[in-house]
């Protein structure tokens, strides 16, 4: 009586069958994504407003509590007030989306609503929907070059069906001033993940890491004699008394997350956690916040 299972065949050899299955999955997801996007649509209309960009938008008085380094000293020197220079939201923003298609993402436990892969896809397509609606350019490494379209999500999903699943995407296209939303379960060694993302961060792109996590992975409720199976490598591991490892495991699991989070915050990247037993919209709302947030480095 297993607590968790893989929602799709994990064999890599059946790529075609995988693609067909995904094709069947995506329209559903799209509808789902549209529903989600409708809930967060407010505040995305009208790009003629302050935001991250390069052009001057307005001077406004400094309000106590704001970062001091944002003060425009030249303007402030002219009179007794202190001013902050706001910039206009740059329209020419490219946002890269990526959802981890690796077999480990196919896992869904009893307590979860959907599999991790499904949740990641839903989130990414929802973001695609939201971004294309506001005219942003979206892209998917290895699948779609940056493009702008009213129906960006549909187009992206079509392209996803055609393309093979790549677990380590080529991120060399992600340039400065663009953003990347990277959804994965981050179960690989943190060093590998960091090594993969470090060049992007060093180029000056901003990233938003979204960890999709199954509740089972976090809680580790197993006890007694267990045989664990790795969906990626097929490795098996027998454990005598699983409950004795719970504590150590949870500590390691959290440590991994914290390491990534620390790394992300060092570059001003955001790190969002979404458990598959929670609503996807929670995560969506957070992402929206992070995206609209001025990271304060613009000056």
């Amino acid at each position: 009586m297993a607590l968790g299972a893989l929602t799709a065949p994990a064999s890599k050899t059946e790529a075609l069958a995988r693609a067909q299955q995904r094709a069947a999955l995506v329209p559903d997801l799209l509808v789902d994504a549209k529903r989600l996007a409708a809930t967060t649509i407010n505040g995305w209309h009208g790009r003629r407003r302050k935001g991250i960009g390069e052009n001057f938008w307005q001077f406004r008085p400094y309000v106590e509590g704001e970062a001091v380094n944002r003060i425009d000293w030249r303007r402030s020197a002219r009179d007794d007030n202190t001013y902050i220079r706001d910039r206009e939201w740059e329209a020419a923003h490219t946002i890269w989306l990526w959802a981890d298609p690796s077999p480990s993402m196919l896992f869904k436990s009893k307590g979860a609503q959907v599999s991790k892969e499904s949740r990641a896809l839903v989130l990414m397509l929802a973001m695609a929907e939201l971004l294309s609606r506001s005219g942003e350019r979206i892209a998917w490494p290895g699948v779609a070059a940056p493009f702008s379209s009213r129906n960006g999500a549909e187009k992206l999903s079509l392209r996803l069906v055609d393309s093979p699943a790549v677990s380590g995407p080529d991120l060399s296209m992600v340039k400065r001033f663009s953003e990347i939303i990277y959804a994965s379960d981050f179960l690989d060694a943190p060093e590998d993940i960091i090594q993969h993302l470090q060049p992007v961060a060093e180029r000056g792109a901003r990233g938003h890491l979204v960890e999709i996590c199954d509740p089972l992975e976090e809680i580790f409720p197993y006890s007694g004699r267990q045989e664990f199976l790795d969906p990626e490598t097929g490795e098996r591991l027998k454990v005598g008394r699983a409950e004795t490892f719970g504590e150590d495991y949870r500590a390691l699991f959290i440590a991994r997350r914290e390491e990534l989070r620390a790394w992300a915050s060092r570059f001003g990247w955001s790190y969002t956690l979404n458990r598959t037993d929670r609503q996807a919209s929670e995560c969506l709302a957070k992402l929206q916040l992070f995206l609209s947030e001025d990271r304060g480095l613009a000056a």
């Binding site: 009586m1 297993a2 607590l3 968790g4 299972a5 893989l6 480990s104 896992f107 379960d185 179960l187 690989d188 060694a189 199954d214 992975e217 197993y222 006890s223 007694g224 004699r225 267990q226 045989e227 664990f228 199976l229 790795d230 969906p231 990626e232 490598t233 490795e235 591991l237 027998k238 454990v239 005598g240 008394r241 699983a242 409950e243 490892f245 150590d248 495991y249 390691l252 699991f253 991994r256």
Partner: protein, 940 residues
Amino acid sequence: MIGLPLAFGAPLVLAGLIALPIIWWLLRLTPPKPNQEVFPPLKILARILKKDETPHKSPWWLTLLRLALSALVILALAEPVLNPQNTKLSGEGPLVLIIDNSWASAPIAENQKRTALNLINAAEASSRPVILAALASDGKVPLGPFDAAAARERLAAVKPEPVPGDALETATLAIELAGENKANEIIWLDSGLESKDKDEALESIGESGFKSLSWHGPDALPLSAVTAAENGAETLKITIQRASGAADTAPGQLLALDEKGRQLAETPFLFTGSETSLEAELKLPFELRNDIASVRISGERHAGAVRLLDDRMKRKRVALLSGAPTDAAQPLLSPLYYIERAIAPFADIVQPRSSEISGAVTEFLDAKPSVIIMADVGSIPAPAETALKDWINKGGMLVRFAGPRLAAASDDKLLPVALRRGERALDGTMSWTVPQSLLPFGETSPFAGIDIASDIAITRQVLALPEPSLSERSWADLADGTPLVTASEQGRGRIVLFHVTPNTSWSNLPLTGTFVEMLRRAINLAQAAGGGALLSGQTVLPPFRAVNAEGIITPPAPTAQPLALKAGAAPKVSFENPPGLYGNAEGAIALPLLGKDDRLVLSSAPKLPFPVTAQVYQSSAPQPLKGAMLLAALALLALDCIAVLWMTGAFRSWRLGAAAASLALVLLLPNADRAMAQQNAPAARTQAVDDATAIEAISQTRLAFVKTGDSQIDKTSHDGLFGLTVFLRDKTALEPGDPIGVDLETDELAFFPVIYWPVDAASPMPSANAIARADAYMRNGGTILFDTRDQDIAGFELSGGGSPANERLRAILDGMNVPPLEPVPSDHVLTKSFYLLSDFPGRYKGGDLWVEASANAETLTDRPVRTGDGVSPILITSNDFASAWAMEENGNFLFSTVPADALQREHAFRTGINIVMYMLTGNYKSDQVHIPALLERLGQ
């Protein structure tokens, strides 16, 4: 099995052990099946699991457990028996079984009996009758032949007896019986102790018509026995024997017990090498040695290990007789004075009522003394002499001292040596000789080892006629070789003669410790009063105490017969006369099991004309092990179940259980604490003052008042003391803290120098406990200022009626130790301790202030104050001080004085200040009168 006395009832089942390897193989093949789980973060988990190896097969210890379980079941089914016993008989006809149940058989009686039972069972199997004879018996029990059931019954009645077996007699009876019944097989179950009697019995068996003898005996004789006890002058000497052939060293413990079996002393002894006999010494004060009723070898359970000591070893009764007229006016000259003083600590003294010697001797002999001491008795009347001689022959001891009368007497029979007539003076004016000292005592003398005082000087003595045996009879010699003390044995008794007087007229010997010691040694040699039983000519003594086969002292068995004493022959232990005490509570003699000459020798199989098989008793009974093994297997099975359950994680809810248990414990513990607290409640009450309160209370001097329970009065008291405190701060160097109300029942009173107690008739009477606490406070140096506050109604009256408050005060004081009181005299310290005061008004005026009457105080004209120590523990007023002092925070007074007079209030405060100063400084003011003198001395 090899090396183990183990046999199997069904050895074929052991073939099942061959199956063990198969079981092992099967067990190793079937590990428990794990639960399968997909788990994506396996890499993370794997990092932890590196330290824990997951077995592919069931763990080795589980396999081992199960193998042991199977092996145990197979072994148990084979019906193993520990110490199996197979007894085979060879002969025909009745089986003759002779059991040596003499005293030495007690430690091995179990084995002996089991062997006998086996033999009877074997005889039953071949349906042979049994002739059963026990060596120690009264000879009246039928010997058989019995069938097996009767033989078993008879065997059950055979038990070790505390006597040497009467082997020859029993053997003769058995042989006769065997001859009648044509028995040709005889079995001898020996006790292991060799005796001449038994040898003879076996010899006579050899001469009769038996064809085989099966001889069973123990392989060793693990006995040690007490064979003699001798009361030496200093120690009780116990001879202990052990069996020959025991070559190793064996430490033991010898216990001395009193009549009730309480241990008085113990002494270790150690047999070394092949030693078989040793002497243990019990060194005890003589008085304590008297109480020893028996000695016992610790840890040995047989009659030989115990020896009863009779009255002959006890405190002696000594009769004193003097030839000189007693002169009460000059006791130091009395011949008996020094003897009496010397022997009183360790002997009972009998003095004659009759002044005539013959009558006195008769009196003495009735009192049955051990020793008669005669000081300077010259001639003994013939009837008395005969009686005395008779008494000595039976064991009495006569100690005589010389003197002018003895020296002048002629032809005295009751002397150890023949004497020259007259005495020899060593320092007379006409003599060349000088006073003599003593030679060191000879080795054989009973006095050996006594320290001789260096200043002993013998100035006169009676001289013995020289004869060959004189030196043997001499116990002590003078420096010139003439005997000072001689002794000779007469019959079983003894006569001792000191050749000097027992007073200081002939020597200073009686003044020395040597004299005391010599007398003590001499008297110790005498037989005790119990000898009295013998001495009085009694020849048949009833049994009084017996030692049973286990060495326990018991009342005599019904089979025990009176002991007949025959002259010249020591009484012998027999079945009728078991070892023990004979006589009565007045006096008894001990009949020991073993004599001085007895030796413990391990017996061996005899050599007879027909074949003799010798066997050793088996030391333990056969024990079937099937049940125990099956139980063990069951336990292993339970263990296995637990192990399997544990491995499959069935106990994971145990954490919950453990948590619940600890929770229960946590819930219980405070209760336990509370229970403890309840137990310690009285103790806790005294420690109710926690440190913080105590420190706060003593870090500042405070005035205190007793809370009456009436809030109005309590507030007035508080405000009054507050007002006084303010005044004290203003006017004096004392800066008291805020006043405090105390509850007499619970609060610690010791912190306050003075407690103001407004007496209120309306509030409840303080409890006895509160009054007791207040009393204790006063006794420990505190002062209570009682205020009846009713001067407007009536002043305080010590006697007769009065106001209700007065009555109440009287009721309170009833429970206290109140000293005599007096109104403050005009020269009392209170009138001068800070202000000069002539009266002590409060809110009211005119009431006296009462203090402890200073009884010893003297009023000196040159002093302004009466002297006297201490501070009155009690002050009583009726002037309502507190109301006069009562002050609000802002300095307004609460009550007007009666009559309204500012000066009266001022005086009321001065009174308060004087009282507080008096409390704190005591009679310091009365000592101030010395100041001028002190200043003068300091040179001012």
